[in-house]
Assembly symmetry: C2
Homo-oligomer: 367 residues x 2
């Protein structure tokens, strides 16, 4: 990563630390670190933490990863070897940035439990929270560079979706459709990250594990896919119908579509995330399907497929221009079918800009 971007992002983080009276932010080898430094060392059981105080930052790093990481960042290292363990190096790291008596700290919520509890041992009087109002807040507001990458990925996902749809035939197994989608992603240099192909009753499991079930005439098929390119992911859900739609399908599809539209019309800068969730949920509840919309309306997306802001019934987050998130209501009818329609949007001053160019109508396959 460009040195300038690295400095800007650390600066942006420190602004949020000052506003929230935070003494220390501790980050493990994952997406938060990727955002701040443009890389992270190999993540394993060896404690590895980027520690950021107001006055400076330091890297607690296992010696096995030190040399390789040295070529990628100028942050000061406190290196520890397998023979001694991390304790002395951690102590010295905290001292080196005057954080050994930090009172208010923020932990990367995704780091391993043993990393977090090791750090808390050395800061027993501290109050901890997670990244929502510091690093999470900084990451929520995307730069135009990030938005451009997310948009490019969304169009790749559109083509992967179409490739999958064009391949579907009754008699195929879910996993075979997944393979077609995976290959299309690969051919564009965007390895697949996940792919749910849920046919018929399997579509009623929101996190169905794509498997051996054979697609048949009368199936509604949920396809929820994403790949990754240039460090950023994609995520889209669309529906396909094989031959004749199952009983009641059109009605339920129209309700989910109306829920998407209601969420889109509500999402504006200054609005609470929970209001967007309510907009989608009310449409579905008013239509009598409230109990079958079993998840939140959406999630933020950046380096992580799921990150802040979460679009939930209880989220207090105020939406702002530059935030990127999914709008993905669904209705899941056990034993029958499921319907989910998912868009990734970037919030602009006048409302959401949708990345995908695919219609949300069901793709029709000859039965």
């Amino acid at each position: 990563m460009d040195d300038k971007i690295q400095k800007q992002r650390l600066q942006k983080l420190r602004d949020t630390m000052r506003k929230t009276n935070t003494d220390l932010v501790a980050v493990g080898p994952g997406a938060h670190m990727q955002y701040l430094l443009g890389f992270h060392p190999h993540a394993d059981e060896r404690p590895c933490l980027l520690l950021i105080a107001l006055s400076g930052e330091v890297f607690l790093i296992p010696s096995i990863n030190a040399q390789g990481s040295r070529t990628k960042t100028d942050v000061a290292f406190q290196i520890w070897g397998d023979d001694e363990g991390p304790n002395t190096a951690l102590k010295n790291a905290l001292l080196s940035i005057n954080a050994d008596e930090a009172k208010n700290i923020v932990l990367d919520e995704t780091m391993r439990a043993d990393f977090a509890l090791l750090l808390l041992e050395y800061l027993p009087k501290t109050k901890h929270r997670f990244t929502l109002d510091t690093l999470g807040a900084a990451r929520m507001l995307k730069g135009e560079d990030e938005i451009a990458l997310l948009k490019e990925n969304a169009l790749i996902a559109d083509r992967a979706m179409l490739a999958g749809f064009e391949a579907i035939k009754p008699g195929m197994r879910e996993i075979e459709i997944y393979e077609v989608i995976k290959n299309q992603f690969s051919s564009e240099g965007a390895p697949i990250e996940f792919g749910i192909v849920g046919g018929g009753p399997n579509g009623a499991f929101p996190h169905h594990q794509t498997g051996e079930r054979i697609i048949q005439n009368g199936d509604a098929v949920v396809v929820d896919i994403g790949g990754r390119k240039n460090g950023y992911p994609s995520d889209i859900t669309r529906m396909a119908i094989i031959g004749t739609a199952p009983d009641g399908y059109e009605e339920v599809h129209a309700i989910v579509e109306a829920a998407v539209v209601a969420a889109m019309q509500t999402a504006r800068p200054g609005v609470r995330a929970s209001e967007v969730d309510a907009a989608a949920r009310n449409v579905i509840s008013d239509a009598g399907f409230g109990e079958f919309f079993v998840h939140r309306t959406g999630h933020g997306m950046g380096i992580d497929i799921h990150e802040h802001p979460y679009i939930t019934a209880t989220s207090e987050t105020i939406l702002q221009s530059g935030m990127v998130f999914s709008i993905e209501p669904g209705i899941y009818l056990p034993g029958r079918f499921g319907i989910r329609l998912e868009e990734i949007v970037v919030l602009r001053d006048d409302g959401p800009e949708v990345f995908s160019q695919l219609p949300r109508t069901a793709y029709l396959v000859n039965g």
Copy 2:
């Protein structure tokens, strides 16, 4: 997973809990859960914990994953929805197994920090530690079924290593050799998990990120690879020489080989893991290269590529028959080359049985 195996493993875990006076073991959606239940729900930011007390077990599970998981286990569920959050369900879960006043608990060290700290909020007076003497101890002792799978994977890795070696030509990029290895793994139904191809000076970074460097005459090339099949991984490191070996290569290779042999001869049931580390380390130190052996001698391997027992300078673990671990000393000479030789072994009553059938001599490629 077979119900019988699931019951046996929970039983084995509870035996270790009784011995260590443990009231509660908390496990996130990862390898520990895979070991106990034969599956784990999709892991994301939604708190998901298997809670095991002496008297019973319960699953704190997000509603989005509940239906899909219900088909895979009979453990009682405490389900929570995105609209309410996990707090009430967690409280009820702890009550349901009489663990709301647990005094001594064990946390899955790999779970997310926010999962662990959420649980600790509800058990403020508890003492916590990680899994080394309970679940980790149970997992260290492999069944013959697990050993057979690890052995099968090791032979697949042998063939992937050979495929890579046979493909190497001066002028190729590291990443191209990686691709050959990856394809060989795939062709045997064992997707690659990691692959380090470090040529020339890159070999001196133990965790080198395979890249664009061109393999050239005079390179020593470190190849450290692993795939996964039937839920279990492989891990092996061998060396290739392109044309003429770099100055000093043969001497250093012989020292690393002697360190492997010394560790093998020391590893016996009843011996401390630290003694095996010392055996390898002493050979290298006595030869004057101690400062260039920058990591531990090995790590356990099972469902996780890295798990207990760790073969380190400070490990108090007493080795037992049925443990599977790596022996992988290395010498890394910055700017010149690195050498690592890695075997995976299962410890038997009379010493280590090596899985790989590949010699540890360097593979010679025409320059």
